[in-house]
C-alpha cells in the first residue's frame, strides 16, 4: 500500500517551497526533513517543550502539533529567518549571545521565535513580563536566569534598532 501524498506550497522565511507530503506529516518534520531547515528542533513531539516553535503569520505555534498540509498558505518564520536581511544577527539572537542565554542550544530556536513574537507584542517588557513570555518553553541547561536577561536585552536592542531606522 502506498501512502497518498499532497502537493503543498510552504511559504517559509519569505521563500516559496514545494513539497509532496502525506496528510499526517508534521510541520516540524516537513520543515526539517523535506525542506532541510533543521534549525527547528523537536524535543518532545507532544507540544510541551516549545523547542519546535515557529511563527505562523507572526504567531508562535508548536510545529509538532500542526500538520504540514495545514501550514500551506500561511507565512512561516523559523529560526533561520530571524537574522537581519544583511546577515547580521537579529536582536533576539544578538541578545542570547550577549547574555549567555544558551548552552547546548537545542531549546534555543524555540525561545528565539517565541521571544520574537513576544517583544513584537510587548516591546518594553518588565522582568516579570519577560519571564511570562518564556514560561511555556523548557530549557534543561541554562536554569533560565540568562534567558530572562536576554528577553529584556532583546527588547532593548529591538527598540534601539527601530529608533535607528526611524
Amino acid at each position: 500500500m502506498t501512502e497518498q501524498t499532497h502537493q503543498i506550497r510552504l511559504h517559509v522565511n519569505g521563500v516559496e517551497h514545494e513539497a509532496a507530503v502525506p496528510a499526517r506529516r508534521l510541520l516540524s518534520d516537513a520543515l526539517r526533513h523535506d525542506l532541510g531547515l533543521t534549525g527547528t528542533h523537536v524535543g518532545c513531539e507532544h507540544g510541551v517543550c516549545g523547542a519546535c516553535t515557529v511563527l505562523v503569520d507572526g504567531q508562535p505555534m508548536r510545529s509538532c502539533l500542526m500538520f504540514a498540509v495545514s501550514a500551506a498558505g500561511h507565512e512561516i518564520t523559523t529560526v533561520e529567518g530571524l537574522a537581519r536581511p544583511d546577515g547580521e544577527l537579529g536582536p533576539v539572537q544578538q541578545a542570547f549571545r550577549e547574555c549567555h542565554g544558551l548552552q547546548c542550544g537545542f531549546c534555543t530556536p524555540g525561545f528565539l521565535t517565541t521571544i520574537t513574537a513576544g517583544i513584537a507584542e510587548n516591546p518594553d517588557p518588565t522582568e516579570d513580563e519577560a519571564r511570562d513570555m518564556v514560561a511555556g518553553n523548557l530549557c534543561r541547561c541554562t536554569g533560565y536566569q540568562n534567558i530572562v536577561k536576554a528577553v529584556c536585552r532583546a527588547a532593548e536592542l529591538a527598540r534601539s534598532g527601530e529608533d535607528g531606522a526611524a
Partner: protein, 796 residues
C-alpha cells in the same frame, strides 16, 4: 601585551551558528538516510515465547527488520559491562535485541528500517510478539524482600554488596555521648536532555569504513564498542560527535543498543541509516538515577562533632548493570563532604528491579550522599539545640589539613584524598550571602504577616576531573591560525570557547585565531569523555600542555631565524619578537619554516620549498625532529580534584496549600581557577534548576507492574522559568588545585548536588517537622502536617 583570556567573561564562539539555526545535531546530518524504529517491550518482566515479523516486509517503504535471531557473532552476545568491579559479583547486561526474556518496559526487541520514521513505526505495529508474563519487581522494598527475582540466577536481587570503612565506627558510636538514627530516602529522576539520543551511520564500501555520528558524551567509547561488536578494526570506524543537545550523564552510556544496530543496518543495507529517539522512548529506554534508601547511625559529642558514622544503603540500579557501581560508590564516599568524622563505615547493596537501568545523572550519587550527610548535620544540631552552621563548622576539615586523606577508595579506584579547599571561609561567605545571622528577624517579620518561612543550608565536596587521561593536538597553520583537537565531546559547556581561551594565553595568539574540534575520533583517537566535571581539568590541561609543546618548537625555530636566545623571545598576538627590539617573525612564517617542502602550491608553500628553507648542509628534517608546527600531549592526573560548595535557600511554605515557594537562593562555589566565569555561572544556574526539579518536582511514577505512568513532559515535571528562583546569588572562592598546571577543578555538576538537602532543611525549618524523603510535593507536605498534627497538639 595581550590581555589574559583565562578568567575573562569571553562570549561564546559556538553561539553564532546555534542562534542562526545552523548548528548540526545528529538528526540534522545525512538527510538521505533511512530511518530506524525500535519495537520495545510493553511488559516489565516477561518471557518471549515467539516473535512474528512476517507482515512487516510487505509494507511499502520497509527495508529490513531484525530480531535477536538475525544477530550473529559478538552482536548476539550481551552488551558489555563497561565498568566491572570486584564486588559486582552478579553483573548482568541486556542484549542489543532481547533474547528470550525482557526485564523492563522499553527493552529493545526488534529493529525496523524504512523510508521514513512514520512508515517504520507503522511497521512496528505489525510485529506480533507472544509473551509469558512474569512477576515484576518494582522499587527497593520489593527488590529487598526478594519475593520475586528479576534474574533467576541472582539470589536476593543483589548485584553487589560493597563495604568500606575508616576506623571502627560501631565502637565510636557506642562510646559517643549522643547518638541518633535516621532513615532517608530519595526517588528516581532522570537527566532529560532536550535532545534525546540519536545515531546515524554510513558504511563506505569503497573505503571499507564505517562512519558514525552519535549524540554521545564519549565518541571514542562508542567507536571501541562498535568496532568490537561488528568485528571491525578500530581503524575502520570513525565516530563524530556533532552538536549535542545536552547530556547530563545519560549520553555517557555506551553502547546503547541503537548505537550498534544502526551501524549494523547501515553496513548490511549499504545505505545511511538514522535513529532519532522520541521522548517517550527516552523515558522508558534510556536511563534514570537517584533512587536510594539510607539508614544512618551517628554518634557525636556535645559540640556536634561526629565521632562515629555508620551508613547502610540500598541502591536501585534497574534491570541491568552496564555502568557498574559508579553511582553508589560515589554516594558512599562523597557523602563525607567537607567533614571528617572520627570513624566511618558504609555498606551498600545494589539491587535489581524490573525498571529502566540506572546510570549517572549530573551529580551522580552525590545529591543522595549530600542529602544523607546534611540531614544528619541538621539532626545533630536539632538534638543539641545548636546553630546548624556551627555544627558544620565543628566538623570541617581545616585549610591547613590539605591534602586530606579520607582513608577510602574513590570511584576511580584511587585514594579519596582532597587536594585543596577552604571550608570555613566558604561558610562565612554563604552566611553573609543569605544573611544567616539575621534570619530570625526575617522569620518573625514574616510570621507577623501570617507567613511561614524556613532557611536551609547544605555543603558538599565534589570529586571532579577524574582520570584516566585526555589528550590534545595543536597545529599552527602557515596562516597563523591555530587548529586544536581534543577527543572529549561537548554538550553545551562551551568547550570551544573555554579551550580557545587556554590556547590563546599559552601560545600568545589571538583568541579569534584558535579553532577547537571536540569528539571526532579522526582528529584525536585517544580520549575518555565528558562527564564527572572533568572536561576543563582533563582536556583543558592537555590542551595547555600541547600548546606549550607547539610553543617550544615555535620559539626554537624563531630563535634560529632571528638569531636570538629563546629566553629573550615573547609571543604576542601571534608574532614572536625579541623582547625590547623590532626584530620579529609571525607564527605563520615559523610554520612555513618548520616544513621544508618539495612542491609549491601557494605563496606560503613556495616560501617553504627546500631551496628556501633550512641549512643545505644538513638533512631537511633533523633526525630528532618532524616537519610542521604542532604539539601533542596528554594529561593524566594521579587522582581526582575536589571542588566544593555551599548552597543556602529560603523558602516560604504556604500555610493553607503547603505550596513551597523559593524566596532566595545563594551559592558559594570553589572550582579552583575559573577559565570563563560567565560559563561557570551558567553551569551553576542550570545545576540549581535541576536541583530544584529533583527536590520539588521530578520523580518516576512506576506502578507495581513496572509501567512508567509519567513518561511525557506533560507528566514528568521539569522546572520551567516559573519554578526556578528569580535570582541566584553567587560568590566564588578560588583554591587552586595543585594537581594540574592550570589550578582548575570542574564545575559541571556542582549546582545540582545540594539541592534536595538544602530544600529539605529549609522546609523542615519552616514547618518544624522532620523531612526525610525527597522530592516533596505540596500534597506530601500537607500529609506530613496532618500526620504530625496530633503530636503538636499533645506537646501544647
Amino acid at each position: 601585551m595581550t590581555t589574559k583570556m583565562m578568567g575573562a567573561k569571553v562570549q561564546r564562539v559556538e553561539d553564532d551558528r546555534l542562534v542562526r539555526g545552523t548548528g548540526r545535531y545528529v538528526d540534522d546530518v545525512a538527510p538521505d538516510a533511512l530511518h530506524a524504529a525500535v519495537l520495545r517491550s510493553p511488559h516489565a518482566h516477561a518471557r518471549i515465547v515467539s516473535i512474528d515479523v512476517d507482515a512487516v516486509l510487505d509494507i511499502d517503504g520497509v527495508h529490513a527488520v531484525w530480531t535477536h535471531e538475525d544477530l550473529e557473532g559478538a552482536m548476539a552476545d550481551p552488551l558489555p559491562l563497561l565498568i566491572p568491579h570486584p564486588t559486582l559479583t552478579h553483573g548482568r547486561t541486556q542484549y542489543a535485541l532481547a533474547k528470550d526474556e525482557v526485564n523492563y518496559v522499553g527493552e529493545a526487541i526488534a529493529l525496523v528500517v524504512a523510508e521514513d520514521r512514520y512508515v517504520a513505526e507503522d511497521a512496528l505495529a505489525q510485529i506480533v510478539v507472544e509473551y509469558e508474563l512474569l512477576p515484576a519487581v518494582v522499587g527497593i522494598e520489593a527488590a529487598r524482600s526478594a519475593a520475586n527475582l528479576v534474574h533467576d540466577d541472582v539470589p536476593g536481587n543483589v548485584a553487589a554488596r560493597m563495604e568500606q570503612s575508616n576506623g571502627d565506627a560501631a565502637a565510636a558510636i557506642a562510646a559517643a555521648p549522643h547518638t541518633l538514627s535516621l532513615d532517608l530516602k530519595i526517588e528516581r529522576s532522570a537527566c532529560m536532555p532536550m535532545e534525546g539520543r540519536g545515531t546515524v551511520a554510513r558504511w563506505d564500501p569503497d573505503q571499507n569504513r564505517l562512519q558514525v555520528w552519535t549524540s554521545t558524551q564519549t565518541s571514542t567509547g562508542v567507536r571501541a564498542a562498535v568496532a568490537a561488536k561488528l568485528g571491525l578494526d578500530l581503524g575502520q570506524v570513525d565516530v563524530i560527535t556533532p552538536d549535542v543537545g545536552g547530556g547530563f550523564g545519560v549520553k555517557i552510556v555506551h553502547p546503547w543498543p541503537e548505537e550498534l544496530l544502526v551501524p549494523l543496518a547501515a553496513q548490511r543495507l549499504g545505505r545511511a541509516v538514522k535513529f532519532t529517539e522520541d521522548r517517550r522512548e527516552h523515558f522508558i529506554s534510556s536511563a534514570h538515577e537517584r533512587a536510594q534508601e539510607h539508614h544512618v547511625e551517628v554518634g557525636f559529642d556535645d559540640e556536634g562533632r561526629v565521632l562515629g558514622l555508620d551508613v547502610r544503603f540500598w541502591h536501585d540500579h534497574g534491570a541491568y548493570t552496564p555502568y557498574g557501581l559508579i553511582v553508589p560508590i560515589i554516594t558512599s564516599t562523597q557523602l563525607l563532604g567537607p567533614y571528617k568524622p572520627g570513624a566511618y563505615h558504609v555498606q551498600f547493596d545494589s539491587l535489581y528491579t524490573n525498571t529502566v537501568i540506572v546510570t549517572p545523572y549530573r551529580g551522580a550519587g552525590r545529591p543522595q550522599g549530600c542529602f544523607v550527610m546534611e540531614r544528619t548535620m541538621d539532626a545533630i544540631a536539632a538534638e543539641l539545640g545548636l546553630d546548624r552552621a556551627d555544627v558544620r563548622a565543628a566538623n570541617f576539615i581545616q585549610p591547613d589539613e590539605f591534602p586530606y586523606d579520607q582513608g577510602l577508595i574513590f570511584q576511580d579506584g584511587r585514594e579519596l584524598k582532597y587536594d585543596s579547599g577552604d571550608y570555613p571561609a566558604m561558610l562565612d561567605k554563604i552566611k553573609e550571602l543569605v544573611d544567616w545571622d539575621h534570619f530570625e528577624d526575617f522569620r518573625s517579620a514574616k510570621a507577623a504577616e501570617g507567613k511561614r518561612v524556613g532557611l536551609g543550608l547544605a555543603c558538599y565536596v565534589e570529586g571532579t576531573g577524574v582520570g584516566p587521561y585526555e589528550g590534545a593536538h595543536v597545529h599552527i597553520e602557515t596562516s597563523g591560525k591555530v587548529k586544536v583537537a581534543t577527543g572529549l565531546t561537548s554538550q553545551g559547556q562551551g568547550h570551544q570557547t573555554a579551550f580557545a581561551q587556554i590556547v590563546a594565553d599559552e601560545l600568545g595568539v589571538r583568541f579569534e585565531d584558535v579553532e577547537i574540534t571536540t569528539g571526532d575520533t579522526r582528529r584525536m583517537p585517544y580520549a575518555v569523555g565528558t562527564f564527572a566535571s572533568r572536561a576543563a581539568v582533563m582536556s583543558g590541561s592537555a590542551i595547555h600542555l600541547a600548546a606549550k609543546r607547539a610553543k617550544e618548537k615555535a620559539l626554537r625555530i624563531a630563535a634560529d631565524a632571528l638569531e636570538a636566545d629563546v629566553d629573550d623571545l615573547e609571543i604576542v598576538d601571534g608574532v614572536v619578537s625579541v623582547k625590547g627590539t623590532d626584530s620579529s617573525i609571525p607564527l605563520g612564517t615559523i610554520a612555513v619554516l618548520s616544513n621544508p617542502l618539495r612542491y609549491a602550491f601557494d605563496e606560503a608553500s613556495k616560501a617553504a620549498t627546500q631551496f628556501n628553507v633550512g641549512d643545505p648542509t644538513k638533512p631537511p628534517v633533523a633526525e630528532d625532529d618532524e616537519p610542521g608546527l604542532e604539539g601533542k600531549d596528554f594529561y593524566s592526573p594521579p587522582r581526582s580534584t575536589f571542588a566544593s560548595g555551599m548552597h543556602a535557600v529560603i523558602v516560604e511554605t504556604d500555610v493553607e496549600t503547603a505550596e513551597i515557594r523559593i524566596l532566595k537562593y545563594a551559592v558559594v562555589h570553589d572550582c579552583g581557577h575559573l577559565i570563563n566565569p560567565m560559563i561557570v555561572e551558567g553551569q551553576i544556574h542550570g545545576g540549581v534548576a535541576q536541583g530544584v526539579g529533583g527536590a520539588l518536582y521530578e520523580r518516576m511514577a512506576y506502578d507495581e507492574s513496572g509501567q512508567l505512568l509519567n513518561a511525557s513532559f506533560m507528566d514528568f515535571l521539569m522546572p520551567y522559568v516559573t519554578e526556578v528562583p528569580t535570582s541566584i546569588e553567587i560568590d566564588h572562592l578560588e583554591t587552586p588545585s595543585p594537581l594540574n598546571p592550570l589550578g582548575i577543578k570542574g564545575a559541571g555538576e556542582a549546582g545540582v548536588i545540594p539541592g534536595s538537602a538544602a530544600f529539605a532543611a529549609a522546609i523542615e525549618d519552616a514547618e518544624r517537622l522532620p523531612i526525610t524523603a525527597m522530592p516533596i510535593s505540596p500534597s506530601e507536605l500537607f500529609a506530613l502536617r496532618l500526620a504530625h498534627a496530633p503530636h503538636a497538639e499533645e506537646s501544647k
